[in-house]
């Protein structure tokens, strides 16, 4: 029994690490820039298919795709920011939300045109093997994906905390005017930050594709998970996002183990509602910034 529990916990933690990076990009873009990226999970979906294409066509392992996704999606993010969001800063919030919603629908349907609605999986050499860690059988893919996710989280955390650019990005979110008078090019850093958020989404897509089946038109479910992580962890804080991811991961595996069918969704939404009610103040403050 105890062993069973430990296995569930290990599973939950590894999943939680991946949920953390799925939420991280959303959290940073929302917390630091005040942009509600409704299209976040659409970029996650693109990340999954990025790994899928590289794997199917060129035989590139998803571990490598994980790192390749970072620069590719960074560039994609900056392009999207330049095209849409600089314009979006000048329109009302509801207007911006509609535009992001449109972007989500656009990406999802372009995805469906290219890849159809078929459900895909990536079967790498290690997909069905497991390793024994301290007497526990752990699926190798989950271990790998979890470690990759943890590494990425650590990189983001260190970047925002220890580099001057990272601090400038945080400064920009705390006092935009003062940051500008200090000489910080807010437009450029915003582009960069959005690029980083999308890079994170792309990498999360790769990690998720290693474990779960995926298709273009089910991407919104990842928005639900990412959003739960963001609400639980608060906005724009890497460490809290990690903790929130772990909680969500553990919760999911526990529910799946002890409750019948998809009650996990019910638990998820009750939790979502509860956190929204409880964290009201903190969430309101952060969202008032900009769009």
């Amino acid at each position: 029994m105890l062993e069973h529990l430990a296995a569930i916990a290990a599973d939950g933690i590894l999943l939680g690490l991946i949920y953390a990076i799925a939420g991280l990009g959303l959290s940073l873009v929302l917390g630091i820039m005040g942009i509600v990226n409704v299209a976040h999970s659409a970029f996650i979906m693109l990340g999954s298919f990025f790994a899928f294409e590289l794997f199917e066509r060129l035989g590139i392992d998803p571990i490598i795709s994980f790192f390749l996704a970072l620069p590719v999606f960074f560039v994609l993010g900056t392009v999207v920011y330049r095209m849409l969001l600089t314009r979006l800063e000048r329109v009302a919030q509801a207007q911006g939300l509609v535009a992001m919603f449109g972007l989500m629908v656009l990406i999802e349907n372009l995805g469906t045109i290219v890849w159809t609605t078929d459900t895909r999986v990536i079967t790498a050499s290690y997909t069905n093997s497991s390793v024994v860690v301290g007497g526990l059988f752990i699926a190798k893919v989950k271990l790998i994906a979890g470690i990759l996710a943890l590494a990425l989280t650590a990189i983001f955390w260190a970047f925002l905390r220890f580099t001057l650019v990272g601090r400038a990005i945080r400064a920009m979110s705390q006092n935009r005017d003062a940051a500008m008078s200090a000489g910080i090019d807010v437009r450029r850093l915003s582009t960069m930050m959005f690029g980083l958020g999308i890079a994170c989404a792309g990498a999360a897509g790769v990690a998720l594709a290693m474990i779960f089946p995926f298709s273009p038109n089910t991407q919104v479910q990842w928005l639900a998970w990412a959003f739960l992580v963001v609400i639980l962890g608060g906005l724009g804080n890497v460490a809290n996002t990690l903790v929130a991811g772990l909680i969500v991961g553990l919760l999911q595996t526990l529910c799946a183990a002890f409750l019948p069918f998809d009650y996990v969704y019910l638990v998820l939404y009750v939790l979502l509602a509860a956190v929204l009610v409880l964290r009201r103040e903190g969430l309101t403050l952060a969202v008032r910034r900009a769009i």
Binding site: V38, Q95, V98, F101, V105, V287
Partner: protein, 344 residues
Amino acid sequence: MLSLFFLPSTRESASGRIYRRAPWLLALSVLALYGVLGRQLFLLSTLGTVFLYIALTQAWNILGGYGGYLNFGMVTFFGVGAYTSAVLFQYWEISPFLTAPFAGITSAALALLIGIPTLRIRGAYFALITLIITFAVQILVLDMPFTQGALGIYLQPLSLTPLGVERLFYYLFLACAALVTLLVYAIEHSNFGWALVAIREDEDAAEIIGIRTVEVKWIANCLAGFVAGVVGGLYAQRILYIEPTGTFAFDISLNVVLMAVIGGAGTWQGPLIGAPLVLLVADALRVTFTSEVNRAIFSVIVILIALFIPGGIMGLWTRWGRGRAEKAAAGGTQGARADEQSVQ
């Protein structure tokens, strides 16, 4: 202060009001007449769908258009309404015509349930939750025993000729569309509508002047839920077979947003323009394109409208009208302008 009393009254004369409303009333009469005279099943059915969407989009418009809180999951209310009526029929054989109001109430209750946590806080949380909750509700309906999962629920066909059925639903949905439009018109010209607009423009200021913003948003959301639920209940009787994926199709949510945004959110005319236009264009595109391409095209249109034409077609129309009025005023007397400034 005194000068306030000399401001031209904003209330139109009775004849002016009739003149303004005449085209709409005329259109309504023509449509009502067509219900009797028309014999083409396809046309009647298509128009019925247009009316259904007008009702849904108007319902969305209350909180989304006037209040600025966007619901990206309108289908949830619609689908829950449809299922309420279908389940009531399945177990007790009550006709959806009788249970439609109850379907509305169920959806309104769900709207309240969603609104309580999400509308108390500002910002986009409501929009995000409505978007992702569709997914959860769909899965629940798939898994619950009493909804029969993916099997779906069959309803009793009406004992009418096909033409009779189409006419019946033509009139039902026309009535729904007209009533909801009337409701939205009334809201636009009431304190409630004014409060919603205040919330959209500046929620802080709205609170300061004493608007109970949270309650206003809740009511608006419940109204939307009620309308969508009733329409959903009637829809169940129309298509006679309800199953989770079709009833909770994301397309319905998407269409509602498209119609409102393209026609012009926050005006009572917007959905009247948007719904037929989107369905017409979608039908025209369907001949040559798949539905994915179709949606991709529409999403680009929505992005462009959101970024460059706030207010959609109605926004363009009013700006064009104002431009003309200004041109006319510039040619007019200077005295009128001086008055205007002294009032400020």
